[in-house]
């Protein structure tokens, strides 16, 4: 029997290219290109390294607009076996709740799954809520913020990185894992695989295929709404010019303002 692994991926604006227009304070989308969410690449790599040792099949599931295909073909070129893109106008504008619902619904439509792996969070919205949401919808345990995972005999052993330490956890499948950004180095794409994937294309599933109600998903199914956006007002700072010669004066000022304290 092969281990069925699902990897959740998302296409996001390249975080290194996110340019904020200094005048409008909005995202300058003309300069921002879409890439695979980095932590999701780590999730796929974690899946592939399980597949290196254990017979496994990896299915990529993503929710997003049709151009997400390029991300999914990339995943296939790295070694995934199947790619399902859940795409429908009705899914647009979803917050984390309906996103989790939609992805979980797609996963539940697959014949079988043992392990679901996602990135810790997406770089564009940084909530980290979709993975656990999916686990809840599917009623399975989860191990979040993993730096390392291993599969053996129906169990995942993982290292979770918490604020104050590392937790070593063992859990039987089915389980959902979220991998930390940078927890591994994603393997390269194979030209051969990429040609095959490009020719074959990916599977597109829409709302009807999932059998969800339109008012459950997308913006209509989202409990939270954005009331307004405002630019974060910066405190004006003096930017007082100091030269090598006037450094002692600055130091004196720092002590006088009690920013530095005299040690006794």
């Amino acid at each position: 029997m092969v281990l069925e692994i699902v990897v959740m991926v998302k296409q996001v604006p390249d975080s290194q290219e996110v340019v904020i227009d200094p005048v409008t304070m909005n995202l300058n989308r003309s300069l921002t290109r879409n890439v695979t969410n980095k932590a999701d690449e780590n999730a796929l790599e974690a899946a592939l390294s399980i597949k290196d040792k254990t017979p496994a099949k990896i299915t990529i599931v993503s929710m997003g607009p049709p151009q997400t295909e390029s991300t999914m073909i990339e995943c296939l070129a790295r070694g995934a076996d199947r790619a399902v893109l859940v795409s429908d106008r009705a899914f647009g504008g979803a917050d984390t709740y309906p996103t989790g619902l939609t992805v979980a619904s797609a996963i539940s439509k697959l014949e079988h799954f043992d392990v679901i792996i996602a990135g810790e969070e997406s770089s564009d919205s940084s909530t980290g809520h979709v993975g656990p949401g999916v686990a809840e919808f599917l009623g399975i345990e989860q191990i979040t913020y993993c730096s390392k995972i291993e599969y053996s005999k129906g169990h995942i052993t993982a290292e979770r990185e918490l604020e104050d330490g590392t937790e070593v956890v063992r859990c039987p499948v089915p389980v959902l894992i979220t991998m930390l950004l940078g927890s591994n180095f994603p393997r390269r794409q194979s030209l051969r695989r990429k040609i095959d994937a490009t020719k074959k294309g990916i599977e597109l599933w829409n709302l009807e295929k999932l059998g969800l109600q339109p008012e459950w998903v997308g913006v209509r199914g989202s409990p939270t709404i954005v009331r307004r956006m405002q630019s974060i007002k910066e405190r004006e700072r003096a930017g007082k010019r100091i030269t090598i010669e006037t450094i002692p004066e600055m130091v004196k000022e720092l002590y006088e303002k009690n920013i530095l304290k005299v040690k006794k």
Binding site: S190, L191, I195, T198
Partner: protein
């Protein structure tokens, strides 16, 4: 049976043109580009002369991501304190609109999309490791442990053609063949650019300078191209001169150029968006390798197809032309069902009669002029001195221009006879 009729390595202007032309002629084409998306590894000096492109896409001016059409051409000399230049503007440029400033990530992306629409399989983000050979014939490409086969491989890798060099299809690059190109793209508002350069309605400026302020035989040219809401400013540095000096940093020349008293005001308060560098083919016709062989052709910068006489610089249009010619040859081979060396010689035949090779042949030896102390040292200083003496009010009796020129010539440390010869040579070659 090969998997593809043709594989193109590199999705720049040459590669995408070749792929598009072959695919639209019914060939099964694979285009492989290491940058993802296409153009993310590309750098260009800036001006696309688009006549060649209209052979491929007649309506290219409507859909290609163009920045500004060139209405204003400047050629000038910069010395430490001065600027002397020819500033040419004509409404004719505005009516004809053949030259456009472009940014390559946008242009290459558009051209790759066009190739895909024509039916080519476009793969990005993968580096081709080398060629696959069988009986001294190129039968495809290698990547990791895989071989992908094709009847012909079009090598369009750009100015640093790793596959062509590693496979021995062209000589490694020497100081004479290339120059170091460095560019900074600076963000300013469209309005500010219009005001600073006196431009309207999408018009743009292309300016090239000889950097006469450099010392110790270091030679470089500078350029300014206006884009929609950015300015591309850069330098092209002669490697031989830099090597001889061995004290000047290439990136400092870039800095000196943009901080020159007559360049800096154009860029003032601009925000640096990108710093980039790229080799610029300068070798002329001598640097062009054998363009074809058994199962392969070489196109664009990989084949050294570029031209500069100091006032006119061309590269992307040659690349497009060579890509189209390579495609034509491949299509002919497909019809014959044979892709041998003698069949692909048709590409060479097309190229030998192309504007690219004819220009390059005609201007053979031009680099001796463009990279001469005459252009980079003597002329800038001479022009500065003559104009200074002419315009400067000393309170003494006025002199004829000829008198001033002769005084400055005599005052200079150059051999007069040699200068005369040099000027003659320059006129002839330019």
């Amino acid at each position: 049976m090969s998997e593809f009729d043709a594989i193109v390595v590199g999705a720049g202007p040459a590669g995408t043109s070749a792929a598009s032309k072959m695919a639209s002629s019914g060939l099964n084409v694979l285009l492989v580009e290491r940058g993802d998306p296409p153009g993310s590894k590309s750098v260009s000096g800036g001006i696309l002369w688009g006549r060649e492109l209209s052979n491929l896409y007649p309506d290219w001016e409507k859909s290609a991501p163009l920045e500004r059409f060139i209405s204003n051409k400047v050629t000038g000399f910069l010395t430490e304190d001065s600027y002397v230049g020819i500033d040419f503007k004509t409404k004719k440029f505005e009516r004809e609109k053949t030259g456009y400033s472009v940014l390559r990530t946008r242009l290459d992306g558009w051209m790759a999309k066009k190739a895909k629409e024509a039916g080519a399989t476009v793969i990005t983000g993968i580096t081709v490791d080398g060629l696959a050979w069988e009986d001294k014939k190129v039968v495809g490409i290698r990547q990791a442990d895989d071989t992908i086969t094709s009847d012909v491989v079009v090598l369009a890798e750009g100015a640093n053609p790793r596959v062509a060099i590693d496979e021995g299809l062209r000589a490694p690059i020497s100081d004479k063949d290339v120059a170091i190109g460095i560019k900074q793209v600076v963000k300013l508002s469209e309005q500010t650019i219009n005001e600073r350069f006196n431009l309207r309605n999408g018009a743009g400026l292309a300016a090239e300078f000889s950097l006469g302020f450099l010392k110790n035989g270091v030679m470089a040219g500078g350029f300014l191209y206006t884009n929609k809401d950015t300015i591309s400013a850069g330098v092209v540095i002669d490697i031989a001169g830099l090597r001889k000096d061995n004290k000047t940093y290439s990136f400092d020349i870039m800095d000196q150029f943009i901080n020159h008293p007559y360049i800096a005001p154009y860029l003032e308060n601009g925000q640096l968006q990108e710093y980039s560098a790229h080799l610029v083919c300068e070798g002329g016709i001598n640097y062009v390798p054998k363009l074809y062989g058994n199962g392969y052709v070489i196109a664009g910068d990989s084949a050294g197809l570029s031209f500069s006489n100091g006032m006119v610089i061309q590269g992307m249009n040659y690349a497009i032309a060579s890509g189209i010619s390579a495609a034509k040859a491949a299509v002919k081979c497909k019809e014959k069902g044979h892709y041998g060396e003698s069949d692909l010689a048709y590409y060479d035949e097309l190229m030998q009669h192309s504007q690219a090779i004819e220009d390059m042949r005609k201007f053979k030896g031009i680099t001796g002029v463009t990279w001469s102390p005459m252009i980079h040292e003597f002329l800038p200083k001479f022009a500065e001195n003559v104009l200074h003496d002419m315009f400067y009010e000393t309170g003494e009796p006025k002199k004829h221009l000829f008198e001033i020129a002769m005084e400055n010539l005599i005052g200079s440390r150059y051999d007069k006879k040699k200068l005369l010869l040099e000027s003659y040579r320059m006129m002839r070659k330019m």
